[in-house]
Symmetry: C2
Subunit: 593 residues, 2 copies
């Protein structure tokens, strides 16, 4: 046994005890006769004292310890003269009598402190040092707590953990798969799962009743910031339920997580239809920490000769509380902001509600005071509020207004990371039309069931069929989504046909599922939560990066282990694959379909 | 809400309650006026009653229900006249008043019963039906319980769950990797982990102190029966420990699992050196449920002119209790058994200890009664015991004797699946010589540390260096193994050199780990348990197959989803790989190393 205690647990009660500690040299202060050294491990920091008078040799040795050296010390727990109330061990120190260097350390490439001087690339390359920093370690510890609480809660509700396979079959629909060549089945490939969707449905057919898994999933997409090729889901499915049962069950899970991990009670989750979310927030994942609802001004602004509004498909407005004091300069800057390509508005109209209740706008020559009072009324803008108006084609304008709303929420400090506003968004459309491919795509996935009352529209008006699908949204982040599934073979077949699958394609890719539906498939549905994302949200972070122990960069590389990497010719040969020169034809594949 | 209760929970206390149940039609008995139907779900079976007299229409409907139809019934809980004490719901039945067919079922291809008529292939193809069978469902439920208990125990000991990446880098040493072509980094590949070994060591360098994960691992090996290309490990690592700390910690885990899951107390685990295991059991994973130790008879048998023994490198014997009554025919059969190529002995010598204590052998003409009494003494054979002797080259003979010992243990009923005998095997050799490649291989893996007292032998006598490595063995099955790791860069480098890595190879493949060792790596060590295997052991099964929800067959195929499968030409092209015709050269790979 190398140690009797960790660096986070000793206090005045231990005074006089002989102890052994192990850890890393965090920092040292040499005060002439005395040397004070902070020893760090996962559990905390304990101060060590070396005294020139009592043991000069030991003190000299201690003075030579570099940062991040690994040591084992023996000594006596002693009350400190100058206490540090900020840390649990702050009332004591260890008078060291023995010091063993377990390993030395080169000077780290960045400081191991809460706020480091290391850039992202360097931190990733030396991730094993980055994790020694408190915020990263805390993020990983939080993740561990979240996983444990999730499992405790789901188990208490009767969910059984089942591991689904990682080596499965490629289904070219949807996002791109990562594939794995099979050496034993030459010319054939496994795929890594984008989600265990079909397997969890098969588990329902198998009678497992309630399934869950915290599971790695994979998507070979072009990585945007904060997207990882491998990510983790809390994946759940249950049988003999309707949508309401599912929503109740999983808001129970999230309520439990908030209570257990954050000590916060979030209460019942409100439900909002997709249509309302789009109308009021311009977005299917509304940040409901603040209102600032989007209003339609068409009735108020049309017919007054202002061409921009006359020509616009929609005219949308928000009222920003207390922002009437915005200067001309600030408003110009805001106008530039909405005109950026990421937002894509062509201009910004504004109106200030003055202290006396009158309204002054940037388009006063077209609108009377009464007109403008109407704007304020529709926007529920009060004295000293600022009304911001965007106009243009429906889809783009709604999106731009959603962005503007979020931006104004941020500027007004309404998006506090310590406040959590959770809700369900429901009644999503089943299908969305894709102009590029000229066909319908499943908004959720092809296994989502239409609302029974809308089923008749499948043939006549597919775009207006609503799905039994739902997302859980917290603070404007979609943390989870799911649906009641189709459990009838004919309906599933019809769905595949609607999505443009040929009968052969449907059978080749999902025949096993449709067959399963013929052997007593129960009604079922479920949900998947983005675990990386929900951890980041709980941790108050914008990026998921620090909630993943060894993340990949935006090119999908692990810069620490330098992966991916070329294979040897022998390995390729054994696998029966080749890497053609770029530009040449991937030839010789007569056996592929 | 489709149901008020499950099929496993109603009893006499519920008598008179109106309930709704959902489930599958398990079987039906039509007794003229009454129809009795067993409704099944994950939780149990509840008897439904339909009565021609009270509701003929409903009863007719019930009679048309096929096996495995999914139904929802409403009715009244009623005391049964003929009770079934074998099931928890056996005292009640449901007088059904409402019956809704939720889904129909074709006739299943095999019976959904404890003992099915379905062959392995059919069961695998329709795995979703196989899982409906009690033994398979119970196996998966046991696995879920095992995972939960493992996590509870490790968390209580301060272990933090950390997810390590699945897309890592190929390391051609050791078993074959599954690889994943990177679309974004053309010509480069990820590999799937054979274990998170290097990552868990980096987590120790990162100061995580105690790590665990229940994690999927992958090995592209030619599959023997009961090996899966993807398998699950309980993977653990801890810092600032010596071997003794690690053994104490993880026998604590296994003790907890036995207590929690099986209600069995297994006590302290004995420790046996590799050398003793090989000597006494001929095997580094001894089945210690029974003794029947292997004895060396060389001293007793040499110099008597029996050529077989004179020429043999070793002469090994076991005493089989009470088997002196074996007939000549049985002994001939046993002789044939040891001569099978899988066992590989050239013959079997035997000696019976008679009721009067005298010994009769198959080689009486070479050995005096006193000689044979000496055999009995060495073997600790008593009256009516049978002594079995094998002779030949050391390695093969020890292996054959180990097999014979296990076989005799089985024949004597000494290998009861309900009895568990666990132990640690320690002090493994660090290296083993491979005649084929003409170099040393790491017996455990290249990160295992030599025993400090043997380190000096690394240069002079590597074959005699013992490792700080250990296996946990239960009932002759290696359920886990681990080691104290190297945490010093120079020693790690020396180890790689010993194993025949060039300096470049070592740096290319494991440079990140050796670098990490230069920044304050703590002493650390750990273990990995084969989770599939330990679940099967707890479940009393020989095969891991039913403890995996969706296993692959011996060709690595998932016959249910029909995977692996060919990819489309487009997919291959996008990934930058080609599948050459078998026999052609995997050409055009100038960018591979």
């Amino acid at each position: 046994m190398l140690r009797t205690h960790t660096c986070g647990e000793l206090n005045l009660k231990n005074t006089g005890n002989a102890v052994f500690l192990c850890g890393w040299i965090h920092r040292s202060r040499d005060l002439g006769g005395m040397t004070f050294t902070d020893l760090r491990d996962r559990y905390g920091i304990t101060q060590l004292v070396f005294n020139m008078e009592t043991d000069a040799l030991l003190c000299e040795k201690a003075r030579k310890l570099g940062r991040e050296f690994v040591v084992r010390v023996g000594g006596i727990v002693t009350e400190r003269s100058s206490k540090n109330p900020k840390i649990p061990t702050g009332e004591i120190e260890i008078r060291v009598t023995e010091l063993e260097i377990l390993n030395e350390s080169r000077v780290p490439p960045f400081t191991i402190e809460e706020h480091t001087d290391g850039g992202d690339d360097l931190r990733m390359k030396f991730r094993y040092l980055d994790i020694r920093r408190t915020p990263v370690r805390d993020a990983l510890m939080l993740r561990s707590e979240m996983a444990a609480a999730t499992r405790t809660c789901l188990r208490s509700m009767g969910f059984v953990e089942v591991e689904t396979p990682v080596l499965i079959k490629s289904t070219p629909e949807g996002a791109r798969d990562f594939v794995v060549p099979s050496r034993m089945n030459r010319g054939e490939f496994y795929a890594l799962p984008q989600s265990p969707q079909t397997f969890k449905q098969l588990l329902m057919v198998a009678g497992m009743d309630k399934y869950y898994q915290i599971v790695k999933c994979f998507r070979d997409e072009d990585l945007r910031a904060d997207r990882q090729p491998e990510f983790t889901q809390i994946d759940c499915e249950m049988s003999f339920v309707d949508q309401d049962d599912i929503l109740h069950t999983f808001e129970g899970l999230v309520r439990y997580l908030f209570q257990e991990v954050k000590g916060i009670q979030i209460g019942e989750l409100p439900r909002m239809s997709y249509a309302d979310a789009m109308k009021n927030y311009g977005n299917d994942k509304p940040d409901t920490r603040f209102a600032m609802l989007i209003r339609d001004l068409s009735m108020q602004v049309k017919g007054r000769g202002f061409k921009v509004f006359e020509d616009a498909e929609v005219i949308l407005a928000i009222a920003v509380q207390g922002a009437a004091s915005y200067t001309r300069k600030q408003l110009d800057e805001l106008t530039d902001w909405v005109k950026r390509p990421q937002i894509g508005a062509t201009g910004l109209v504004y109106a200030r509600v003055q202290v006396d209740g009158s309204v002054k706008s940037s388009v006063d020559k077209f609108y009377s005071p009464a007109d403008l009072a109407g704007w304020a009324e529709v926007c529920q803008a009060g004295k000293e509020d600022l009304i911001l108006v965007l106009a243009g084609p429906e889809k783009q304008t709604r999106k731009a207004m959603s962005e503007l709303r979020l931006e104004m929420g941020s500027r007004l400090g309404l998006r506090n990371k310590d406040i959590f506003s959770a809700l369900w968004v429901t009644d999503f459309p089943l299908l969305e039309w894709d102009d590029e491919t000229g066909r319908w795509h499943a908004m959720h996935h092809p296994f989502t069931s239409p609302k029974p009352e809308d089923t008749s529209l499948l043939d006549t008006d597919p775009g207006n069929v609503r799905a039994n699908a739902y997302d859980m949204v917290i603070n404007g982040v979609e943390v989870g989504g799911g649906s009641v599934r189709i459990h009838n073979r004919n309906l599933q077949q019809k769905m595949f046909a609607l999505l443009g699958f040929s009968e052969t394609e449907a059978v080749t890719q999902f025949g096993f599922l449709m067959n399963a539906f013929e052997y007593g498939a129960p009604p079922h549905g479920g949900i998947a939560f983005g675990f990386d994302r929900i951890c980041a949200l709980f941790g108050g972070a914008d990026s998921i990066r620090d909630f993943i122990a060894f993340p990949k960069n935006n090119s999908g590389r692990d810069v620490m282990i330098d992966s991916p990497a070329p294979l040897s010719t022998d390995q390729l040969k054994e696998l029966g694959i080749a890497v053609p020169e770029p530009g040449t034809n991937a030839s010789g594949s007569s056996q592929v379909i």
